[in-house]
Amino acid sequence: MMTVTAARMLWDRAVCFVGIGLPSAAANLARLLKAPDIVLIYESGTIGTRPNVLPLSIGDGELADTATCVVPLPEIFAYWLQAGRVDLGFLGAAQVDRFGNLNSTVIGPYDRPQTRLPGAGGAPEIALHAKQVYVIIKQSPRTFVPSLDFVSSAGFLGGNGERARRGAPGRGPQAIITDYGLMRPDPTTDEFVLVARYEHVTVAAAVAACGWPLRTGAAVEVIAPPTLEELEALRELHARTRAAHAVRVKLPI
């Protein structure tokens, strides 16, 4: 459902900087359903990829073979992301705060971590330079926290326009897509508020699954359930992916 919701929020010809997992599934679902000319960039250096199956890693061969071009990684970050050519970046995280700042580095103190996470990767500069960012993350009081243990990538910082005042080129996170619904930033305070929920979810449940006092928008819309077409396309994509990933590797040795 998160995948379908994210896919619906994409548009044709959008230039998307995509990570692995839900973002990759959503972007490719959108491409198959309604946005054939969406441009997918993976940080591994593949520009304009049209994978037939979902990659497990950010640099699967499928991404290179179906790309318009494959460039070195320093070029992707300098000439493409930093240059402001990316319309939309997708980010996940282990923790998010009310201003859309993200932590993917560590739970607990940095020097004596309770849980060491993989780290920031491409996120700090995606968060900075993409014209806007969608965050995809499952909701719970442990992930939607009042205060991050570590800021890996910037959302609206302390809110109330701080990000814009400090001169960030991109507009920052414009949506948080969760398994309860959709949050959008308040245009004045920059605080994320619930603006839509899935049919089977109550507002109270969404509020309870958030570690900060989650406010709701003027009206909380209901997100239409996946259509048959969406479900089928997603199912087929996953089936192709499973089949492709099940092929045994044969080493030439």
Partner: protein, 284 residues
């Protein structure tokens, strides 16, 4: 001609205490070379790699390193790099000092290294805590606009190790497909060791492809399958099943130690490593 066996190349070019970058962004990861470093029991390495995934999980778990410079450390698409985590969280098998960057920062550091500039530039690290925990991340004022721009120090490894598709008899090396920051890491290093799928008479590289001339290569070793379980475009695909299986193997200290013992210490080279896996029913 710099063609050697992998064993000779590692013996000659990788020393205890070296700063060593094994690069390869998902594609062309030099696993066989990493295993040979474990086998030769190198210690106190400063490992450098944008994405310390399964390879550095193995090398750090085996006790080769006490410094790690990186920007993302996990099992891509699967989860944690458990051995890296345990080194950081519990100092096992020994403490690991981390020097943490973003991908863009680390790419800029390799570019500065390859260019022999004393710093690299990026608009980055905005609003993050990374600059707080890594004193190497600084800034300079633009001499035209006054804007503060983030800087990183150059990365200049003692040795960079890559895997590539082909070398020719002179030692010229061709890479094709996703090439990450490998060329920058190669040209930033004092020494460069490359393993390849095959050595051919003539490279026949397409115009404008990624070629490292023989005279910048310290040693080339022919190691077919040397990128497994990552992949070599045109030769074999990524072994996603093994990457998933690694999550289980690496979760437990003893199971990990047994795996290293059986397949790395218990074999003399990459061919035997593959044979041992096959003998135990791993399909590859």
């Amino acid at each position: 001609m710099p063609v050697a066996t992998l064993r000779e190349a590692i013996e000659e070019h990788v020393h205890d205490g070296d700063m060593v970058a094994l690069e390869g962004f998902t594609h062309l990861i030099p696993f066989a070379a990493g295993h040979e470093i474990i086998r030769q029991r190198r210690r106190h390495l400063h490992l450098v790699r944008m994405t310390p995934d399964l390879l550095y999980d193995q090398m750090i778990g085996a006790g080769c390193a006490d410094h790690l410079t990186f920007s993302w450390g996990g099992n891509p698409g699967v989860g944690s790099a458990h051995r890296v985590r345990e080194a950081i969280e519990k100092s096992w098998p020994q403490p690991l000092q981390v020097h943490e960057h973003s991908h863009a920062g680390m790419a800029a550091a390799y570019v500065a290294g390859a260019s022999r500039l004393p710093f690299g530039l990026l608009r980055g690290y905005f609003g993050t805590d990374l600059a707080t925990v890594n004193p190497d991340i600084r800034s300079v004022a633009c001499p035209y606009t006054g804007e503060q721009i983030a800087t990183v120090p150059p990365l200049n490894p003692d040795v960079t190790i890559l895997h590539a598709q082909k070398a020719d008899l002179e030692g010229n090396v061709l890479m094709s497909g996703i090439v990450g920051a490998q060329k920058e890491a190669a040209l930033a290093a004092k020494r460069l060791v490359v393993t390849v799928e095959e050595i051919v008479e003539r490279l026949d590289a397409p115009m404008n492809s990624v070629v490292l001339p023989a005279w910048v290569v310290s040693a080339v070793a022919c190691v077919p399958g040397g990128a497994w379980p990552s992949y070599a475009r045109g030769y074999y695909a990524r072994d996603n099943a093994f990457c998933i299986a690694w999550d289980e193997i690496s979760r437990d200290r003893e199971r990990f130690a047994a795996w290293i013992e059986r397949y790395v210490y218990g074999t003399r080279n990459h061919r035997e490593f593959v044979q041992a896996l096959r003998a135990d029913g791993v399909s590859l």
